[in-house]
Amino acid sequence: MTTVNAQTQGGDLHSNAEGQQYLSFLLDDEEYGIDILRVQELRGWTSVTRVPDMPDYLKGVLNLRGAIIPVVDLRQRFGLPVIKYGPTTVVIVIRVLSGAVERVMGIIVDAVAETYTFEIDQIQPAPQIGGGVKTDYITGLMAHGEKMIILMDIDELMNSEELAVEELA
């Protein structure tokens, strides 16, 4: 089990105006980017405890040094074909702002790719995609040489559907 600790302690959770850093990862040959300041750590795939009556993409919960965190398979979340987890499969532990609280969650991706620094004005807005595809969590697109990187808002992504914060009863 490899654990890489991203030096994010004390980092500002909100993006700065210029030169924002992104961590990119791969999902079925697509490259996605998320705000690097939200990444707490990277760890290899270990089996999780499944939680009853959850959608398939919610793989279960994991013990992260005493904290119980949910783990989401992003492939399944996006409706991509399921593959077997391999040696490059990575769980990215991210900090998600859910309203006033900060929750720690894991996302399973095929592999971690690179880190980039993008100027805000380089980012192109996400095009409207028809056909009922939910694009709320796509904040923009970034061309990097030949590649296109899809930038995501993890707060939007991780607070939707099953992971939505319940109203306090």
Partner: protein, 799 residues
């Protein structure tokens, strides 16, 4: 001095709430003959008023002023203290509390209520308040204006026990006093509590000061200005007699040295009895001397090693004193000397000599609990600075205030440690299976030690969060007072086991269910005085709250000696409300359990207090959500007992580990009734599925976790349905959970699923097992609901 006052406001509010609590408890135990009690209440009111004025809470100050005036009149016997008056004062404390709360963004005050209470206060006071605040307790001899040359001032200074905590130092005041003139200081230690009740940060000393000075009363008051609110101060001027020698009419001071022989106790004499007789003669200060005390190994239980030095201020003659010691004359050394008059012993011998009069009435002496033998009283007599030294001792802090978050994080860490330790233990056990050798043995020993230490550490850390249950109990005297007043019943509330410790979180949540249970006992359980007399019981009903530990749980019993549950009525009501069928035969215990059903109420009419049918089922649900249980015992005409059983802590749970399919779950041990391996014939299938279990004359429904958790299995379906059933109970209902395998029982640390995820119905949380993996903890009540929902769904599908 430009100190930002606002930073002290929170302190003021905190103190005021404390003050209100003091007033409230004082009023509840009010007994008009107890002078000290009313003084305590008065002081609390007085400091609230003072603080409110300082910080600009004028409404509070105005209101409290009236309360204070009334208290002062009661204190000086101008008003007779009637129960009605006490009630008015209690209501007033509520008003003050409401005003204070409103001042810190609390709910809007009920201005009408306040003005009404205030009006009634004024009515009782007679005329519109003309009296101003009474600053210090007036003494009968207030010759304040006198500017005697070198008068002897007798200052009786009784600080509140928390004087030191507020940063005052009596020593400095005494130093300031000694600048005014010759000063003699005597310490009085008669308010010392029993050793078990002794709090090191509190001050139990009071002082009698004799000051020979030409100063005015104001000068003396000024010295005590800062502690005015926190002490009782009596200043009086003593007579200045011209005749210092042997004036039999006035008090003189005797020094008695009493050195009994070691075997005096064996002869049946008790020094403490003699001292008591001495106290009758006048004020006496008894100082034990320990110089004869042998080494501990030479100590013999029936020998007396103490001797005493007694200072007696009395008009008596030497003969009278000798008479007291008449019986032991042969068994002791007795020296009785008349002391030179007081002022000559002070630092200022040139002052006019005078004889000390008993400066204050000896009422403080009588407040010493009788069971405390005076001989054991470690009365200390000292002068000047050394007295202040003695006062300092209790200030050494023995407790610290810590943020609960810090404690919780510590508990979490220790929880991790326990898991790590379990993991290592597993590795060690695995290792011994494949290899042996001295190193492995040493490792094993080390691991065992580690286990023991971590367990101890965990226990200790858990105890940090524990608080005595008195924090909950304390609110009940008021509740009982109010409720019994409304109901016109006479009730005596008995509390026991208040020191029983319980986790803070559990305690915060147990208050409301307890309140409900007590109300219920008062309303339904106890009879009216007339009914009680008719039933041959004493007029006053008794409600007892008893807390104690039992096998890792805390039990709180609420016992009343009332009429008991009316099983017939309950049965009828339950039938009427359709909770049971008419033909259902139930024994008394089962009928009693019906009161916990939702929608149940036997009260013929809905009262302000209870009877709305939302009651006992909520109590039961609340208690069960804490992992506890509530049960009931009742005997007609003898009373009923509600027993609340709670876990000591919410952080740890005794759990049964089970396997369902390929997952491990934890069932709280407290909800398991039994686990059985059912025979095929006992399981009744309905529509091809195992639905009912025949269990001891009962049919209980079975829940298949695989189904209700929708665990879609990729494993072949040919695995035979398990016959292993864990019978669990919640809310008085039993169901059987079909499990595939039973693992061990163990203590698990409860982790919340909600922190990073969400609440899942049927689960109360998760825990981390020894191998680092996560196991989910089942919530039986939630499972039952889930099961019902599942059945409904299935039924809809079939239709």
């Amino acid at each position: 001095m430009s100190i930002e006052l606002s930073q002290f406001i929170s302190t003021f509010l905190e103190e005021s709430y404390e003050g209100l609590d003091i007033m409230e408890s004082g009023l509840l135990n009010f007994n008009s003959s107890d002078e000290e009690a009313i003084n305590t209440i008065f002081r609390a009111a007085h400091s609230i008023k003072g603080g409110a004025g300082t910080f600009g809470f004028n409404e509070v100050a105005d209101f409290t002023h009236d309360v204070e005036t009334l208290l002062d009149e009661m204190r000086s016997n101008k008003q007779e203290s009637t129960p009605a008056l006490v009630n008015l004062l209690l209501e007033s404390t509520d008003c003050i509390r409401a005003l204070l709360e409103a001042s810190q963004e609390g709910p809007e005050v009920d201005a009408l209520m306040i003005s009404q209470v205030q009006k009634r206060l004024k009515e009782v006071l007679g005329i519109e308040a003309e009296t101003t605040a009474v600053e210090t307790k007036d003494t009968s001899s207030q010759e304040s204006a006198t500017q005697h040359s070198d008068a002897v001032w007798s200052v009786h200074f009784i600080p509140n026990s928390n004087l030191l905590q507020s940063g005052h130092e009596p020593l400095f005041m005494f130093e300031a006093l000694s600048e005014l003139g010759g000063l003699q200081i005597e310490v009085t230690t008669n308010i010392f509590p029993a050793l078990s009740a002794f709090k090191p940060e509190e001050l139990y000393l009071s002082w009698e000061l004799l000051l020979v000075s030409e100063c005015s009363e104001e000068d003396i008051k000024e010295v005590f200005e800062w502690v005015e609110d926190e002490c009782e101060l009596n200043i009086s001027v003593s007579q200045v007699p011209s005749n210092p020698e042997g004036d039999i009419d006035s008090d003189s001071e005797w020094l008695i040295r009493f050195v009994p022989n070691a075997d005096i106790i064996q002869t049946g004499n008790d020094p403490s009895l003699m001292f008591e007789t001495l106290f009758e003669l006048g004020d006496a200060v008894v100082t034990p001397q320990f110089d004869k005390l042998p080494l501990i190994q030479n100590l013999s239980a029936d020998q007396l090693y103490l001797s005493w030095e007694i200072r007696l201020a009395s008009k008596c003659t030497k003969e009278e004193i000798q008479e007291i010691f008449e019986w032991v004359e042969g068994d002791c050394e007795l020296e009785i000397t008349k002391l030179p008059s007081v002022t000559q012993t002070t630092a200022n011998p040139s002052s006019t000599s005078s004889v000390v009069s008993p400066a204050t009435p000896s009422n403080t002496l009588s407040s010493v609990p009788e069971e405390q033998p005076k001989a054991v009283d470690t009365a200390v007599q000292s002068k000047g600075k050394s007295s202040a030294k003695n006062a300092k001792k209790p200030t050494e802090a023995s407790s610290i205030r810590v943020d609960t978050e810090k404690v919780d994080s510590l508990i979490n860490r220790v929880g991790e440690l326990v898991i790590t330790q379990a993991m290592l233990g597993q590795v060690g056990a695995d290792l011994t299976e494949i290899t042996t050798g001295p190193e492995v043995e040493r490792l094993q020993t080390g691991l065992e030690l580690l286990e023991r230490n971590t367990r101890d550490l965990q226990e200790d850390v858990m105890r940090v969060r524990m608080l005595p249950i008195s924090f909950v109990f304390n609110r009940f005297p008021r509740l009982v007072h109010d409720v019994s007043g409304k109901l016109g019943k006479k009730v005596e509330l008995v509390l026991s086991g208040e020191q029983t410790e319980i986790d803070k979180t559990v305690m915060e949540k147990i208050g409301d269910p307890m309140t409900h249970l007590i109300r219920n006992s008062l309303d339904h359980g106890l009879e009216t005085p007339e009914e009680r007399l008719a039933a041959g019981k004493s007029e006053t009903g008794k409600v007892e709250l008893r807390a104690y530990h039992q096998g890792g749980h805390i039990i709180i019993d609420i016992i009343d000696d009332g009429r008991g549950l009316n099983t017939k009525k309950i049965y009828e009501k339950a039938c009427e409300k359709g909770l049971i069928n008419k033909d259902q035969q139930l024994n008394d215990q089962e009928i009693n359990e019906l009161v916990f059903k939702a929608g149940f109420s036997t009260a013929d009419e809905v009262t302000d207090l209870s009877g709305r049918g939302v009651g006992m089922d909520v109590v039961r649900r609340n208690i069960e959500s804490l992992g506890g249980q509530v049960s009931i015992k009742s005997e007609p005409n003898k009373g009923s007992t509600f027993s609340v059983k709670l876990p000591l802590t919410l952080a740890i749970l005794e759990g049964q580990l089970v396997r369902v399919h390929e997952d491990t779950y934890v069932i709280p041990l407290v909800s398991i009734v039994e686990t059985i391996l059912a025979t095929n014939s006992a399981i009744n299938s309905i529509a091809g599925e195992s639905k009912l279990l025949h269990f001891r004359e009962d049919y209980i429904s079975l829940l298949n976790l695989k189904n209700i958790f929708k665990l879609n299995t990729d494993a072949p379906v040919d695995e035979k349905e398990s016959n292993l059933i864990a019978i669990v109970e919640s809310g008085g209902k039993k169901v059987g959970l079909i499990v595939d395998e039973l693992y061990g029982q163990q203590q698990v640390v409860i982790k919340s699923l909600e922190v990073n995820f969400k609440r899942v119905e049927g689960l109360s949380g998760a825990t981390i097992l020894g191998d680092g993996s996560v196991a989910l903890i089942l919530d039986v009540a939630g499972l039952m609901q889930r099961g019902q929902a599942f059945e409904m769904e299935a039924a809809v599908k079939e239709a």
